[in-house]
């Protein structure tokens, strides 16, 4: 009983203490937040200070920055940063800010670093003062600090610190933290940009990071590498580091972040065009033709085919297969670029990218992506439309679509149209041509309908009938488009003329219908539309045996003066056309023209129009009438000339989409462009892609693993797991896949021995820093800053040469053994 009591009490106490602890933590968190509120209030007060531009502000900020109280300094820094981020100049505070690089507060320090990378170029002398302290941060325990330090050190674009930088980079490419190594990769790219003299060494560094065991590091290294090589150096040199890692990259691709994935895909696409054999297509036609991947697939559109890829390209494409599930749209776009460049449409279908892109356009949260996806689709359709043909319903117009999206969708629909879906597509286009509230969309829909013609004769007739019916309903630009469509359809009929003379009847009936529309008083046609119709009637009057047009002219002649300018002009053209036809006719008969013309009604009408036009208010009309007068009224030679240019068949209008030259498509086309395939006979052997060694960085205690390339086999455990002892310091784990590597590693080892000698100072300081941070370090970091900077730099160069040789030997040895 007692025991139970005790137990109970104990339990009670325990629970009390627990709840107390909980409430304590709550209280403390409240305190914490209260403190934060106070700080925030202070911050906003100081930022308000930044807002009001008083003459005393700089002094205030300087005072804060020079304060001994950490919080004041932080506030001062915040003030400056917020000035800078509002587009004002932060330069006046440079000296005060640089001082604070030694601050123990990491936030202050990081802000100073950001500030320095921005302004160091302008004040190189003062910036140099900070180099020491930044370098010191390289030995910080926190990887984030080390990473920041490398980052900002390389961000200070002062050429004189390059030698120090190189030394630092050499250390940090072997840092145990992937974060630091990744930062180093970008730092290398930065240094490369400032200073070309050490490019060889920098390339070596980046090559090493490309071989890193950590995917994050490799990914960042790829980004940096692409940046370095984007300036267009010699080709073979550029690709050298990629060969050996091609296969490994393909393997670890899913582990990269999305930026690296996209960069990588783009890089390897270019690589494949340059170093890999074109895929072969085994076409299943009567002869079982085998061809290389063609540029244009329309020739083989009707055949099924098998594809055989180069082994490495197959590997690459296989690695892309899984990335189709990426939630980053731009990665998908990169994949598309790769597939468009490397594979036939069949592969794109296998990847199911059609539905992926269609999902992208129905996913509504990012209108820009939608637009770009549609652009991509129209680019792809121009190459091969079978990928998207099953998805045509996804391009129906929603009411929430922007005008650009709607126009693109209409364009795509008209490109996808074929026998099987024309019924539905035309229905959709018609709906939009009539019901859409935006006139730009309606006229685009009209154009799209025009582009749909040519699928079949029956459909052409249907479209034409619909067009004629809707002239009465349409207005504005849509009506113009409608008339253009009609003209286009007539011209198609004209081309079919040879087939049979029924087409002329058709044209005649169309023209007759148009003339009826002209006569319809109640319709109130716009002048542009009227003019267009008159033009069409004149243009095709020969096809109607010259029966309809004279009547039209006669009817309009009466009220000629009341017609608007465009109509008067077209009437003149119409009369000229008719007259020139008449002249030709007379000429064929061979009768004397002047006599005949006296009585001919067309001639009379023409002369009448000429007279009327002589006094027209429009310059154009007057000018044209004079021209016709001379051409047609002054003898046979001239009239022949006139009939030449009046009766010449005009080219059919081309229905280019309005949006095809938009900025989006320009940007897209630029991006999708790839380099040409390399000459297939000069491809290097596949053996250059033999896997290169992977550099494993141990995750044990030592800060810097030496850069020498002593290597171990994959999977072998590091022997020195104890960590920090200085004897294990140089122990390095480099993975290589082949035991034959023994030879190479020796060679490498020779190269690296020299390196060791050069950098021993550095490494010594690193080592000691393991035990004690404070003093030795500053001495060490002061070291490169002193006068022998130049010599250090020099020796680095020569050492890199040695390394280069040795690796060359290694390769030789390897290929010998292999």
């Amino acid at each position: 009983m007692k025991y139970i009591c005790v137990e109970g009490a104990r339990y009670f106490l325990k629970s009390i203490s627990q709840s107390m602890a909980e409430s304590l933590s709550k209280i403390s968190s409240i305190f914490e937040s209260a403190k934060d509120i106070a700080i925030e209030a202070a911050v906003s007060a100081s930022s308000r200070l930044a807002d009001t531009p008083t003459s005393s502000r700089p002094q205030e900020i300087r005072k804060l920055l020079s304060s001994r109280v950490e919080r004041d300094v932080l506030n001062g820094m915040k003030c400056v940063i917020s000035l800078v981020s509002r587009g004002e100049d932060g330069l006046p505070y440079f000296a005060e800010i640089v001082k604070n690089i030694t601050s123990s507060n990491s936030k202050v320090r990081n802000l100073v670093l950001v500030y320095l990378t921005r302004y160091a170029e302008v004040e190189p002398d003062k910036a140099l003062l900070s180099i020491n302290s930044i370098q010191k941060l390289l030995d910080d325990k926190s990887p984030a600090t080390r990473a920041n330090s490398v980052k900002s050190l390389s961000g200070i674009r002062i050429p004189s610190i390059i030698p120090i930088l190189l030394v630092c980079l050499k250390r940090t490419i072997n840092d145990r933290s992937p974060l630091v190594r990744a930062s180093t990769a970008i730092a290398i790219a930065k240094v490369y940009e400032i200073d070309k003299t050490s490019s060889k060494q920098l390339f070596e560094y980046i090559t090493k990071l490309l071989a890193d065991s950590d995917a994050q590091v490799v990914g960042t290294a790829i980004k940096a590498y692409v940046k370095m090589t984007s300036r267009g150096d010699s080709h073979t040199k550029k690709w050298a580091p990629i060969h050996g890692h091609f296969r490994r990259f393909c393997e670890i691709l899913p582990e990269f972040d999305e930026w690296a994935q996209s960069t990588f895909i783009d890089l390897l696409t270019d690589y494949s065009r340059m170093f890999l054999a074109k895929p072969k297509l085994y076409i299943q036609d009567s002869q079982n033709t085998i061809i290389d991947l063609p540029e244009d697939f329309s020739a083989i559109a009707n055949y099924d085919y098998d594809i055989s890829f180069d082994e490495d390209m197959g590997l690459f494409l296989k690695s892309l297969r899984n990335l189709v599930y990426s939630d980053s749209e731009f990665v998908i776009l990169s994949i598309l670029r790769a597939l468009l460049a490397l594979a036939p449409p069949k592969t794109i279908k296998e990847f199911d990218l059609g539905s992926t892109l269609c999902a992208m356009i129905s996913d509504s949260d990012n209108p820009q992506v939608k637009l770009l996806a549609l652009q991509t689709i129209s680019v792809m359709i121009s190459k091969d439309k079978t990928v998207f043909a099953p998805h045509y319903k996804k391009f129906y117009i929603f009411t929430s679509d922007t005008i650009e999206v709607a126009k693109l969708k209409l364009g795509i629909l008209s490109l996808l149209v074929d026998e099987s879906n024309i019924k539905y597509v035309i229905e959709e286009l018609k709906y939009n041509a009539l019901n859409n509230s935006d006139s730009l969309v309606t006229s685009e829909a009209m154009r799209a309908i025009g582009r749909c013609s040519g699928v079949s004769d029956t459909w052409n007739d249907k479209i034409l009938k619909w067009c004629l019916k809707n002239i009465r309903n349409a207005s504005g630009s849509a009506l113009n488009e409608l008339l253009t469509v009609i003209r286009y359809m007539i011209q198609i009929q004209q081309q079919l003329k040879s087939v049979g003379d029924s087409s002329n009847k058709k044209i005649a009936s169309i023209v007759y219908n148009l003339s009826l529309i002209l006569y319809d008083e109640g319709l109130n046609l716009e002048s542009d539309a009227k003019a267009s119709i008159i033009w069409i009637i004149g243009e095709f009057t020969k096809e109607c045996d010259n029966q309809i047009a004279p009547d039209v002219l006669r009817r309009f002649l009466e009220g000629f003066a009341d017609e608007p300018e465009e109509v008067r002009y077209q009437l003149l053209v119409l009369s000229a056309k008719l007259f020139s036809l008449k002249l030709d006719e007379i000429h064929e008969i061979g009768s004397s023209s002047s006599e005949f013309l006296q009585n001919d009604i067309i001639s009379k009408m023409f002369q009448r129009v000429l007279t009327l036009c002589k006094y027209d208010s429009s310059y154009d009309t007057r000018d044209k009438s004079r021209m016709f007068n001379i051409l047609l009224n002054s003898g046979h030679d001239n009239s022949q000339l006139a009939s030449l240019f009046l009766q010449v068949p005009k080219p059919a209008p081309i229905f280019t989409s309005l949006v095809s030259n938009s900025i989006e498509s320009k940007v897209l086309v630029k991006y999708l462009k790839t380099s040409a395939w390399a000459d297939q006979s000069e491809l290097p052997p596949a053996s250059i892609r033999k896997p290169a060694p992977v550099v494993e960085n141990k995750l044990n205690g030592s800060t810097g693993v030496s850069s020498s390339m002593i290597s171990k086999k994959i999977g072998e455990l590091p022997t020195s797991t104890t960590g920090i002892s200085s004897s294990s310091y140089n122990n390095l784990t480099t993975k290589i896949p082949k035991p034959t590597y023994q030879l190479q590693s020796l060679d490498e080892f020779f190269g690296s021995e020299e390196e060791e000698g050069d950098s021993s100072d550095e490494e010594y300081s690193e080592e000691s820093s393991e035990e004690d941070f404070s003093e030795e370090e500053s001495a060490a970091s002061a070291n490169p800053n002193s006068s022998d900077v130049g010599s250090l730099h020099h020796s680095n160069d020569s050492e890199s040469d040695a390394d280069d040789n040795s690796s060359g030997n290694g390769d030789d040895a390897k290929s010998l053994l292999a």
Partner: protein, 491 residues
């Protein structure tokens, strides 16, 4: 790659700018060029041969990035969205200018990590939280409390305590998308499955026999006037329909948990999934619907999917178009200008009410005067402008069948009706009179508790958890939400 990031308010006043280096142009110099080059609202603006500006507009801010010209054109937009995610994560919802202004120091540190030397670098917010510490605790707290009030879920104690100084020895997390040393006093995970229905219906004339019957049945109940209605009966056919879904996941779990979620995909074999990078693809491929992943800490989109309903039979398609079905007729009445919208809200398990239910009626006649309602059973009806009217039912419990009977009034109508009496008898006149109909009607609603596709979360469990003790049973919550995107019925 990137040269600068600018954040401006909707009037293009600079709020924040981040320049990669001194040579990048300031916003002041850029905006004049940008505004001179783009009269229309373009989102990609070419500055010159080498540079272009990408623009992303949200409700209250505009974000610009300056990029070199020959990059992947979707990349800057992805970056901007990531940036918005990070701002949300650090400074709380919603995106607001004062928040950016008062935190511009932290934002500078963040962007300096996100872009290094113009290269997009570390953009994942979990990873960033390891590198850039929280500075503004208050805004986070405020964000939390507002969430608390809305969700009515106790979260005050779940405030993450991981921003305490970390033990220095630990390396940064080996899982790039999960920050290291996550600790929560309340362990919880929430799954929100949201589906959006996009559909275009076309109305076609019904075969008369069945139509008559349906009509008679209806008119018995609601005594819809005029017997002529039946002859104009229409049925709706979906011509294009898609369901877009996403699974939003919120994880507040200590340590490094490995989760398994089984998504019952309801027999759909291709839902075009897009996964967050944490999802193991192999498991999904082996077992359609099984997601195995180590979640990032916080809120993220686990999977996005899209179901193309056009591949199904008409019947299946109709069954997957959500919890409200519509019956729609037009061209009714003597003037052929009346229309009728009937909604059917069947009782579905798990759905207690349909929210934000409204119907937009659009007519574009140049001489349109108004759209008016002559009869409605629920909600209220109002004519907005530009040929738009709205029938707003707000929240409705399933099981009812609201009806709207309305008419379109145009200028011609007015003059016609004066002379109408005399001409009513002439059959020809009524025949030639054009049918006045809405161009389309648009339905919108949301409802909780069910998904049109039938997808369900069958189970969610922690397979293994490093750092999370066995005894801890995290709170799990699953929510389903159906939304309409473009739910359009064309006349």
């Amino acid at each position: 790659m990137f040269e600068a990031v600018y954040i401006a308010d909707t009037n293009n006043n600079l709020v924040y700018e981040y320049l990669i280096n001194l040579s990048s142009p300031s916003f002041k110099s850029l905006i004049s060029v940008v505004s001179s080059l783009s009269a229309d609202p373009n989102n990609i603006i070419e500055i010159n041969k080498n540079y272009s500006v990408y623009k992303y507009t949200t409700s209250n801010i505009i974000i610009y990035t300056l990029n070199v010209a020959n990059i992947n054109p979707m990349l800057p937009f992805h970056f901007i969205l990531q940036l918005i995610d990070v701002i949300h994560d650090y400074f709380g919802y919603p995106l607001a200018i004062p928040k950016i202004e008062s935190n511009d120091d932290t934002l500078t540190l963040l962007i300096s990590q996100m872009i290094d030397d113009g290269i997009p670098n570390i953009t994942d917010f979990n990873q960033l939280r390891d590198i850039v510490p929280f500075s503004s605790f208050l805004s986070k707290l405020l964000g939390k409390t507002s969430q608390m009030t809305t969700n009515a879920i106790k979260k005050s104690t779940s405030t993450s305590i991981s921003n305490l100084p970390r033990s220095q020895d630990l390396n940064t997390s080996s899982i790039p998308w999960r920050r290291s040393n996550v600790r929560h006093t309340n362990n919880e995970m929430y799954v929100d499955v949201v589906e959006t229905v996009d559909v275009i219906f076309k109305s076609v004339a019904k075969s008369l026999g069945s139509a008559q019957q349906v009509k008679q049945f209806d008119s018995a109940f609601y005594s819809t006037n005029s017997s002529s209605t039946s002859s104009y009966s229409k049925s709706l056919v979906p011509v294009s329909s898609t369901i877009n879904g996403q699974v939003l996941f919120t994880s507040r779990l200590t340590g490094v948990p490995c989760l398994q979620m089984i998504l019952n995909v309801a027999g759909l074999n291709n839902i075009n999934p897009k996964f967050h990078r944490c999802v193991k693809l192999d498991t999904w491929k082996q077992n359609n619907g099984t997601l195995s992943f180590i979640p990032p800490d916080g809120k993220f989109t686990l999977i996005k999917y899209s179901i193309d309903l056009d591949q199904f039979s008409r019947k299946d398609q109709l069954s997957m178009l959500g919890s409200v079905s519509v019956d729609y007729n037009y061209g009714l009445g003597l003037h052929k200008n009346e229309f009728e919208v009937k909604l059917q809200l069947p009782v579905i398990k798990g759905v207690t009410k349909i929210e934000n239910l409204s119907i937009e009626i659009n007519a574009n006649y140049s001489n349109l005067i108004t759209i008016k309602s002559s009869r409605l059973t629920h909600g209220d009806f109002s004519y907005k402008s530009n040929g738009k009217a709205e029938w707003n039912l707000r929240s409705v419990t399933p099981g009812v069948n609201p009806i709207l009977y309305g008419s379109i009034i145009t200028g011609d109508m007015e003059t016609d009706s004066e002379t109408f009496d005399s001409e009513r008898t002439t059959q020809d006149k009524t025949f030639t009179k054009p049918v006045l109909k809405p161009a389309f009607i648009k339905l919108s609603y949301t409802n909780k508790g069910s998904l049109p596709s039938g997808i369900k979360v069958d189970s969610l469990k922690i397979v293994s958890a490093k750092g999370l003790s066995e005894t801890v049973k995290p709170y799990k919550g699953v929510k389903y939400l159906t939304k309409t995107g473009d739910f359009i019925i064309r006349s």
